[in-house]
Symmetry: C2
Subunit: 330 residues, 2 copies
Amino acid sequence: MADSKNPQECLIGVDLGGTKILAGVFDSQLQCLGRNKMSTKAERGADAVIERIARCVEEAIDECDLSRKQVRGVGVGTPGSVDPESGRVIFAANLHWEDVPLRKELERRLDMPVFVENDCNSSILGVYETELKAKPQHVIGLFLGTGIGGGLILNGKLYAGFRGTAGEVGHMVLEVGGPKCTCGNRGCFEALASRTAIFRKIQTAVKAGQKTVLTDLLGDDLNDMRSGDLLKAIRRGDKFVEKVVEEAAEYTGIAVANLINLFNPQVVVLGGGIIDALEDEMMAIIVETARDYAFPGSAKGVDIIATEVGDDAGILGAAVLVRKALLDAK
Amino acid sequence: MADSKNPQECLIGVDLGGTKILAGVFDSQLQCLGRNKMSTKAERGADAVIERIARCVEEAIDECDLSRKQVRGVGVGTPGSVDPESGRVIFAANLHWEDVPLRKELERRLDMPVFVENDCNSSILGVYETELKAKPQHVIGLFLGTGIGGGLILNGKLYAGFRGTAGEVGHMVLEVGGPKCTCGNRGCFEALASRTAIFRKIQTAVKAGQKTVLTDLLGDDLNDMRSGDLLKAIRRGDKFVEKVVEEAAEYTGIAVANLINLFNPQVVVLGGGIIDALEDEMMAIIVETARDYAFPGSAKGVDIIATEVGDDAGILGAAVLVRKALLDAK
């Protein structure tokens, strides 16, 4: 039960991913009060996943000793393209969703106001509103994890384009004829610098006889390799892993330069699991390469930074969706 | 002298380039009444160039049998980054200009209102307001000539970014480690598909013994090669030139796909001397490659077209600057 003398209000932010659902409970100052995690089980279909999101949210509230009545709203950052007005997920490849009425179905189950946005859009919005205090007018967010996604703040607002799919930075071709990407093309940024790309490069080299500390840590087949394992290997002096990570950082720097040339932003923010784990190893190379490749004049005064909120960008951004919607409604 | 019973008002659009100045006289319906051309003589310095722009404008007015009093204003599309508010050219590499008060100096010489914008920005604005009737909300313009430039209409307005340099599509890296670009990097779009890139490829091959109709047309050193010569060679069955132009079209298609993935626009408009001369040879390949490379969903419903205004985009866009400024002032 809430303290009736001080009934604390809270916002829920949900980071819906292909493998896990993360729910964070935030106070009105966007301090995180607690969080809860569940597997997504996307193979069970949209209805089952929405049911799991509802359970994940309810358990997060309960875990924080709060009541449902204290919740002002639930924000959800989801992969894929979204119509934020209706809260429908138009298409999300890794969930196998097509035209799913996420907002409506979740509101029915939770009996709370729900707001839905693309996950990279809500993540950059969260970083923008909290870490950057909504000051710069033009900000590009780049999130490096299993895949690579982006979010754009232009003229102080989320920019989503004609059908809400803008910011697909992961499929920007950087190397015509380069490595195969999951999208079917070759040489996409995602095929060069995502966790998937880095792991594939390592696994291919190991199969070809490359020695690495990683096989001592994880066994010869490198099962369950995580971003943090790369850091461990580098710290133990593994020059091979260091080189692979450096190459990913160089490609990321070139991608950042392309985005600076195209958008002339004030700030480029990098986040996601790869940056979170390897910030010290990658950021200096990313910044140097970006400044080297960006057109003279375009990079002047542009900040290239790693987000301080780390992996919390997802749930924080989703909570910011709720706060923005409530403020806009006033 | 103007007909006093029907004093026609006119707008002047100036397309300032590294080698030539073009001035167009337009009526209030943006029909072109006449034009005048002068060499830029950039090596004589900014003052001399501004003096030449003024002369070019005055002769264009005189040629149309109009008087100075009938001119509502002069728009100038200039290379480089511009502060449209003050009308200063902050930096223009091919003119060797740094912080030149173009608007102020030209207004002093002409005694007419002057409006200044980056040339690609004013070109896309011209196409947007006339050809596209300002209907789509998000439009990307790509201009392929000696170099490659871009202009962005986002949410119905010119987007210029933090310091007015947004839209530098020519220096988007498409092929890490590719051919050297004038900017010092390798593999920029401009180093793969501009007139300069196409000509260099042809000249290198000819030096290495490649046979082509072009040497019959222009002599062995291929001096004074122009975009139109490529068309002539292709029409005469020159498979080598056809292949080089096709490759440039493929790179352009990949660049268009990258821009569709990033901006999710409604329309991508291509223009400039290369497209003007080789539209029939290039556009089908550009469209096919772009649709092939764009992320599923992002390219849906996006029009990829060549502008109908051709090489007039520069002077027309500059005239539109004047019309917009006068309408905004009402």
